[in-house]
């Protein structure tokens, strides 16, 4: 600690802090543009110049470390003169277009100019004009306004992981641009809008639609991935106009993924269902709530009465709130139905009943940064958890060794120490190799249970898995072996894999030996919460997959589009088609709900209150930010009324808070969570590591902007380069092995389904695999996300002739 004095105030700050940090701590405002606490220090704007005793020139507070006894003056004559002159320089080439600038009213330059600027300008020469750049569908540019602070450049390089913007040219001609006609593709790109202290970078969808001061700002929680980012929703005339991050250091820091930032455009989609609808003689008819509910209740009651509760299947979106999940589960149970599940994209349920608690990520979000060895299994991290990926990046930049076992060689934009890219099926063997190698390492010399020992006996450890094992065990590195900082995580591809059980069990065993933290990276906003409440079948019931494989007579759907949200699109579609009755609680009209009989319009997260539980087990409640659109109702209310209409007891809730209290039995949620989160298995599962299987395997990733009904309808997100038609993506050797060439049209078949696709070269895909993205109209004919697939040349003529 060092003692310093700022503007006469004495304070103690940590050795190595800068003047600006110290001043911020005691609330002394030093003006700034280029400095940002999360980015490297550039010290280029010079706005933060302050006077330091005994030093002739003013010093930039953002870059000057404090020293013992330093006396700093932020408002002395010298300091203010320096700040004023910098302000003058910044303004000489800045356009005077505040009245039409989107940043107007929330512009750092405007604010600071008011405080430090002169009234008139001494500059009478010609002003500089800079051409605008087209950097994609999310961000619009007004480059003449740019003050070259390079926050945007530094963000993309340091946080985004790849430099996509640069300051090209020199001197006064220096300007910010992406490479020639490229767009900025980072999945975190929207943050540069927040960072830009002027109106040079603004939100394209939001552009010109409202002024900052016309907006009401309401807090909420991001509803897509499992991170639980804190957001601030800006509302005008009961319409969500934009979404910004709310600062929460331990979760999203001050950032937001583009998905969380721009998905709101889906809330205002013309697809929104505003009134209840009933299918009448094959045609949709609008109706009132009473009729719709009575109709729905009548149908469900009839079928369950006649055929028993098991005739009903209840499929719940993991993006629904805890309250909604709880009520729908209770409703099903009330009808004697045990077929309830939220795990729509899972196919391997062998671990059911064997878990010691609710699976979660196994550590805190913040802890990721502190890890020094990491193993990621079956995760395309940037696609699945765009913002969380950034924490891993920090860890790697701090020196962590990252190992990856995956069927996809996607660039995580961080250094990878070791990787094995193999078919999903072979990942099990690879994990077996790591386990075996690790159990043989001297330092660990741990005895595996005989069953595992035997299992691993005929596995051959290869060099790269040996290296991974050594890395995870901390060999060769200067790591803390007493309190190891190792993390092992399973991602979406592992979670959807038919051999998830093996992967999970082996990962657990590996983690056990090397003392790793970790677990699964739950995909959706409330996956963990749904598990905690047991929105899952009892051993007697059917899980999500079984409900489709052995079709039910009736389905109750909460917040899903079956063929886009389920593991097996073709099965889902067929199951809905054959059902006597499908009741869908949905915020959208959807082609995927064509086979429904009743559509009950529910409110998306922005129009209802509720609770999500994040991947780290944080229970976060939020309130509605707007009133429900049209006749939409919060789903918890709809479920309550539906239950009442069905004559069920125990649904007397007047608010979502009451439902939440019920869920947690009046206890503090954190206490319940603390007790329940547990990644351990109660018993060892029988696993088979040497299964050889030679056919092609599909990698059916869900693209991040197709992950749930809201994002699918966000026009700006759909315009990004991540929104591509599903294709049969394979590596070059694979294409050759199949006797194909890039661009060929092929017929892809999975059990009970097929799709016509184009062949696309993609060397990121493991040999033996075809990557066909899911949750898209172009691939809804297909089956398992992760599973066997065949590819054959599609002879169009033959089809035409036949």
């Amino acid at each position: 600690m060092v003692q310093i004095e700022i503007d006469g105030k004495l304070l103690e700050v940590e050795y190595g802090s800068t003047i600006i940090d110290a001043a911020d701590k005691i609330g002394i405002a030093i003006p700034r543009f280029c400095y940002h606490k999360k980015l490297s220090v550039a010290a280029n704007c010079r706005m933060c110049l302050v006077q330091v005793e005994k030093i002739a020139k003013p010093l930039p507070a953002c870059a000057t470390p404090v020293a013992e006894g330093m006396k700093i003056f932020t408002r002395s004559k010298q300091a203010v003169e320096a700040q004023k002159s910098v302000m003058e320089f910044l303004l000489i080439n800045h356009p005077l277009d505040c009245p039409i600038c989107d940043q107007g009213g929330e512009c750092d330059l405007q604010d600071i100019a008011v405080a430090y600027g002169a009234s008139g300008s001494r500059y009478t020469e010609e002003k500089r004009v800079v051409l605008n750049k087209n950097i994609g569908p999310l961000i619009s540019t007004d480059m003449t306004r740019c003050i070259q602070c390079t926050r945007c450049v530094r963000f993309l390089k340091e946080v985004g992981g790849v430099q996509e913007l640069g300051l090209v040219g020199r001197g006064e001609h220096a300007e910010i641009t992406a490479y020639v006609d490229k767009s900025v593709n980072s999945e975190l790109s929207g943050n540069i809008i927040d960072l830009c202290p002027v109106g040079a970078l603004t939100s394209k969808p939001f552009r010109y639609s409202a002024r900052g001061w016309e907006l009401t700002r309401r807090p909420s929680i991001a509803p897509h991935d499992g991170l639980g980012s804190h957001i601030e929703v800006h509302v005008k005339d009961n319409k969500v106009m934009r979404v910004l991050p709310r600062e929460k250091e331990s979760i999203n820091e001050c950032w937001l993924s583009d998905r969380d930032r721009y998905s709101y455009e889906g809330l205002n989609s013309s697809d929104r269902l505003k009134v209840p609808m009933i299918k009448h003689n094959g045609a949709w008819v609008e109706t009132d709530w009473k009729t719709a509910l009575e109709f729905a209740a009548g149908q469900i009651k009839d079928i369950t009465k006649q055929h028993g509760g098991a005739a009903l299947g209840v499929l719940v979106s993991p993006n629904s709130t805890m309250e909604e999940g709880y009520l729908i589960k209770e409703l099903a149970h009330g009808l004697g139905c045990d077929n309830v599940d939220y795990r729509l994209r899972q196919t391997d349920f062998r671990l059911d009943g064997k878990r010691a608690g609710t699976p979660w990520m196994g550590c805190n979000i913040q802890e990721i940064e502190t890890l020094d060895r990491i193993l990621l299994i079956g995760s395309n991290l940037r696609n699945e958890h765009p913002l969380l990926a950034q924490r891993f990046r920090k860890a790697v930049n701090n020196g962590a060794e990252l190992s990856i076992v995956s069927p996809l060689d996607n660039n995580p934009l961080m250094d990878i120490a070791h990787k094995v890219i193999v078919r999903p099926n072979d990942m099990v063997n690879v994990l077996g190799q790591i386990l075996k190698a690790m159990s043989k390492l001297q330092r660990l010399s741990l005895c595996l249970p005989p069953s595992l020992e035997l299992l691993l006996s005929n596995i051959k450890v290869r060099d790269n898995t040996q290296a991974m094992a050594e890395s995870l065990a901390g060999l060769g590195g200067e790591v803390d072996l007493v309190a190891p900082k190792v993390g092992i995580f399973l991602g979406n591809m592992a979670l959807s894999d038919p051999r998830f059980t093996e992967m999970y069990s082996l990962a657990e065993a590996i983690g056990g030996i090397c003392g790793a933290k970790g677990g699964i990276l739950p995909a959706a906003a409330n996956s963990t919460g749904m598990h905690l409440m047991g929105v899952m079948p009892s051993p007697l019931g059917m899980h999500a997959r079984a409900m489709l494989e052995v079709p039910r007579r009736a389905y109750l759907l909460l917040n899903i589009e079956p063929e886009l949200d389920c593991q097996h699109a073709a099965l889902a579609k067929a199951a809905m088609a054959q059902a006597e009755c499908v009741v869908a609680l949905t915020a959208y009209k959807s082609a995927a709900l064509e086979n429904a009989d009743v559509l009950l319009p529910i409110a998306p997260f922005s129009e209802t209150s509720g609770t999500f539980m994040s991947m780290e087990g944080r229970v976060q409640s939020f309130a509605a930010v707007t009133k429900p659109l049209g006749k939409c109702r919060p789903a918890w209310k709809v479920l309550r009324v539906l239950a009442n209409t069905l004559g069920l007891k125990g649904f007397e809730f007047d608010s979502s808070e009451q439902v939440k209290d019920k869920i947690f039995n009046g206890e503090k949620p954190s206490a319940v969570v603390w007790r329940s989160m547990n990644n351990n298995l109660k018993e060892l599962v029988e696993i088979e590591v040497n299964v050889k299987q030679d056919g092609l395997q599909r990698i059916g990733e869900v693209p991040q902007y197709e992950s749930d009904p809201i994002v699918r309808r966000s026009a700006p997100l759909q315009k990004t380069k991540y929104n591509t038609q599903p294709m049969a993506r394979m590596r070059a050797e694979q294409i050759v092995a199949l006797g194909l060439v890039e661009g060929d049209t092929v017929l892809a078949r999975q059990d009970k389904g097929s799709a016509v696709l184009q062949v696309k070269l993609d060397n990121h895909v493991a040999m033996g695999c075809v990557r066909v993205t899911a949750s898209h109209a172009g691939s809804v004919g297909l089956g398992d996300l992760m599973g066997d697939i065949t590819i054959e040349k599609y002879e169009q003529q033959a089809v035409v002739r036949a």
């Binding site: 790849v162 430099q163 640069g166 300051l167 090209v168 040219g169 641009t177 992406a178 490479y179 020639v180």
Partner: protein, 157 residues
């Protein structure tokens, strides 16, 4: 595609730096490619960036920062004349005028036959030989007089 010869030269430059600092060779690599191709197109810059495994925008930053890179075709012979103080005091203006009238182009223009391009240069660190000019970045001609300029131009025919 970078030529084999260029790659050989770039590889030599790479040996000057630690193995994990390939991009340090970008200045040389851009020079080598420009010398071979006459100027740096955006494709050339991308190729260099890819070869050095750096973001193409970072290579672009470098290419646009240093004066001697040409981001547009600069004729077969690029003539850069220094007009800075030491040269100016020894009447570089007369040399500029002479070149502009003889070639019929102004600064940053290329003659119709694509042969010559005139550029105004900043101090070249050789002011003892003022006035002076440089041909294609690599050959300096000092103590210029209009007669001497003619001799140089003649040799470039």
């Amino acid at each position: 595609m970078l030529s084999a010869e260029s790659i050989k030269r770039i590889d030599y430059e790479i040996t000057k730096y630690p193995a994990d600092q390939r991009r340090a060779a970008v200045m040389s690599a851009l020079r080598i490619v420009q010398t071979e191709r006459g100027w740096l197109s955006k494709e050339s810059i991308s190729e260099v960036a890819a070869y050095l495994r750096m973001p193409d925008i970072a290579a672009m930053e470098v290419a646009t920062f240093y004066n001697m890179y040409d981001l547009a075709p600069a004729g077969k012979y690029k003539i850069t004349i220094c007009t800075n103080i030491s040269c100016m005091l020894r009447d570089s203006d007369a040399i500029v005028l002479h070149l502009q009238t003889r070639l019929g182009v102004g600064f940053n223009q290329v003659t119709a036959d694509g042969k010559f391009c005139l550029k105004e240069g900043e101090c070249m660190g050789a002011c003892g030989g003022a006035p002076l000019m440089m041909v294609n970045n690599h050959t300096m001609h000092e103590f210029l007089t209009t007669e001497k300029v003619d001799v140089v131009l003649e040799a470039l025919k």
